[in-house]
Amino acid sequence: MTFEITEKDARKMNNKLIQLWRFIVLNLKILKAVDHSKRS
C-alpha cells in the first residue's frame, strides 16, 4: 500500500489548531529524546 498525501492531509497540514497540537507533540518528543540522551 503506497502512502500518498490526500487533500484531507493537505488541509490538516495548514489547520492552525491541529498544527499547534503537532508543534507541541514534536517539542515533547525532542524533550524526551534530550532527556533520554546522557545530557548532564
Binding site: T2, I5, R22, L26, K29, H36, K38, R39
Partner: protein
C-alpha cells in the same frame, strides 16, 4: 593554568567554546582559532539560497561573544599541529604572519573541507554547479537562481537538478530542503510550470538521508521515509533518481554512474550538488619533526578518535559501542575532535560498490545538532580533566537524537516543513530490539505548518544560544 585551544567556530566549536569559556574562561586560557570573524548558521543558508533570508541574518560576530566568556580569538587558518610540543601553527588573517598557539588540550572542530575537486566540474569556483555549503556559495546560488528565474519569466523552460555531487557525499537533508524551497519559490513567482525539478542522489533509497532511512508508526501502520519523501515529490512534481554517483560535470551536463554500473548523463540549466566532505587535512608532527598524520587522521583527513575502526558494515550495524563516546584520539589523549572533523567508524546507510568498482555510499551526517552535542561532550570532559583529572561524560551517535526539518517556504502562516525526528541517529538494535533499532515513540516524520514553526524556532533559539545569551545552557543542542 591550562591552555585549551579550539580550532573552528561552527556548531561544534562554538558550543565547545561557550561551555569551556563559561566554566574555565576566568582562570584558564581558552583560545578559538577560526578563519572568519563570524559564526554562520548553516541550516538557514538554504533560505539564503532562494532569497528568502538576508545573508546577514545568518551570521554574528564572534569577538563580542568571546569577550563576554573570557575567550581569546585568533583569526586565521590552522596549518599544522605539533603533537609533542603541543602547539598549533596558524597563518593569521590579513597577512598577519605565523603564530604558534600553545595548548594543553586541543579540540579540532573545523567542520568539513568541501572537496569540489573530487568531482571534476563541480562547484561554483572552478565548476558549473552551485552550492549552499558556505554563505558566499549560498549567495552565489541565489543570484544564479534569480538569473534563471528571469529567463523563465521570458518564457524559457529550464531543468533544475539538486542532490549530491559525489558518490560518497552526505548532507542529503540540506539538498532535499533546497529543492523543496526552490519548488515553493517558483510557485510564488508563478513559474513552477516553467521548470522541471529533479532529485539526483547517492542514497540507496529515497528518504535514506545517510541514516538508513526512518520508519514510524502512523495510524497503526509503518510508514517509511522512502514512502514519505516519494509522496512529497509526487505532490510537488519532482522527479528523482537515487543510487547514483556523480563522476563529472560539464556545462549543462552531469555525468554519473549508478548501482548497476550504467553510465549516463543528465542535462541541467541550474544545479546545486553537495560535494564530498573531507576532514581538516592538517599535517601533524612529533617532537622530531616527523610526520605522524597517519596516527591522528584517516585518508580523508578526519581525526581518529575512540571508535572501533575496520569493522565490516554488518558487524558495525550490530555494534553500537563501535561509535565513539568521548571523541578523544587514542594515542594523543589531549586531542579531541568534534562535529564533522571526527572519523566515523563507517557509514550508517548500507554501503554499495557497483560492478565497475565505484563505491556509491551516503556518508553519515554529523552536522548541526549532532555537532553541537559532540561539542558539548568534548567541552564538559575537558572541564572535567582540568578540574578533576578524569572524564565523566560520554555520548555516542547511537544515543543521540537529531531533527531534520526541511522547510518549504519560511512563512509562519502558510509555510510548511517536513519534520523528521530521529532517535537515535545511528540505529541501536540492542537498546531498541525492533526492526528499526530506534525509539518508535520519539522517531517521527510529518509534514505541515508545525514544521515551519519548528524551523523558525530552532533558528531563533540556536542563534540565541550560540551567542551565549541569557539561558543559553537551557536550550538543548
Amino acid at each position: 593554568m591550562a591552555n585549551v585551544v579550539i580550532i573552528g567556530a561552527g556548531f561544534a566549536g562554538q558550543t565547545a567554546a561557550l561551555y569551556l569559556g563559561s566554566a574555565l574562561g576566568k582562570d584558564h586560557n581558552i583560545t578559538v582559532i577560526n578563519k572568519y570573524d563570524v559564526f554562520g548558521y548553516t541550516p538557514s543558508w538554504v533560505w539564503v539560497g532562494v532569497g528568502q533570508m538576508a545573508p546577514e541574518k545568518t551570521v554574528f560576530k564572534l569577538k563580542p561573544v568571546y569577550d563576554k566568556f573570557h575567550i581569546h580569538f585568533v583569526q586565521g587558518t590552522a596549518k599544522s599541529i605539533f603533537v609533542d610540543d603541543q602547539y598549533v601553527l596558524v597563518d593569521k588573517a590579513d597577512d598577519g604572519g605565523e603564530e604558534r598557539v600553545p595548548y594543553d588540550y586541543l579540540v579540532i572542530a573545523t567542520g568539513a573541507k568541501l572537496n569540489f575537486a573530487g568531482t571534476p566540474g563541480l562547484g561554483p569556483h572552478d565548476g558549473y554547479t552551485t552550492s549552499i555549503c558556505s554563505l558566499p556559495h549560498a549567495v552565489d546560488a541565489r543570484d544564479k537562481l534569480f538569473q534563471l528565474m528571469e529567463r523563465m519569466e521570458r518564457g524559457e523552460k529550464v531543468k533544475i537538478v539538486v542532490g549530491t555531487g559525489h558518490p560518497g557525499a552526505t548532507c542529503q537533508g540540506a539538498a532535499f530542503e533546497y529543492i523543496t524551497n526552490i519548488h515553493k519559490a517558483l510557485l510564488k513567482r508563478g513559474l513552477r510550470d516553467k521548470a522541471e525539478l529533479m532529485w539526483l542522489s547517492n542514497e540507496p533509497a529515497l528518504g535514506d538521508f545517510g541514516v538508513r532511512g526512518v520508519h514510524v508508526r502512523k495510524n497503526g501502520r509503518l510508514l517509511s521515509s522512502e514512502d514519505f519523501i516519494r509522496a512529497i515529490f509526487e505532490l510537488y512534481d519532482i522527479k528523482w533518481q537515487v543510487q547514483t554517483g556523480v563522476r563529472k560535470v560539464e556545462p549543462g551536463r552531469i555525468y554519473w554512474e549508478n548501482y548497476e554500473g550504467v553510465e549516463g548523463e543528465t542535462e541541467f540549466d541550474f544545479a546545486m550538488l553537495i560535494p564530498q566532505f573531507l576532514g581538516p587535512g592538517f599535517t601533524y608532527y612529533d617532537k622530531d619533526g616527523k610526520d605522524v598524520t597517519d596516527q591522528l587522521a584517516n585518508k580523508g583527513g578526519f581525526v581518529l578518535v575512540d571508535a572501533i575502526y575496520g569493522l565490516d558494515w554488518d558487524t558495525l550495524a550490530e555494534t553500537p559501542e563501535a561509535w565513539p563516546a568521548v571523541y578523544q584520539n587514542r594515542k594523543y589523549k589531549n586531542i579531541f575532535a568534534a562535529g564533522i572533523a571526527f572519523a566515523p567508524p563507517g557509514s550508517i546507510s548500507r554501503p554499495f560498490v557497483n560492478p565497475n568498482g565505484l563505491s556509491i555510499t551516503a556518508a553519515p551526517p554529523r552536522t548541526g545538532m549532532i555537532s553541537g552535542i559532540i561539542g558539548r561532550i568534548v567541552a564538559l570532559n575537558i572541564i572535567d580533566l582540568v578540574k578533576r583529572g578524569r572524564m565523566t561524560h560520554a555520548e555516542r551517535m547511537t544515543e543521540m537524537f537529531a531533527a531534520c526539518i526541511a522547510s518549504m517556504g519560511d512563512s509562519l502562516w502558510d509555510g510548511s516543513a517536513a519534520t523528521i525526528v530521529i532517535y537515535p541517529v545511528v540505529p541501536d538494535p540492542r537498546t531498541y530490539p525492533n526492526e528499526e533499532g530506534r525509539d518508535l515513540f520519539v522517531t517521527d516524520m510529518e509534514m505541515g505548518l508545525a514544521g515551519a514553526w519548528m524551523k523558525r524556532m530552532i533558528h531563533t533559539t540556536f542563534m540565541h544560544k550560540l551567542q551565549g545569551r541569557i539561558g543559553w545552557k537551557l536550550i538543548p543542542e
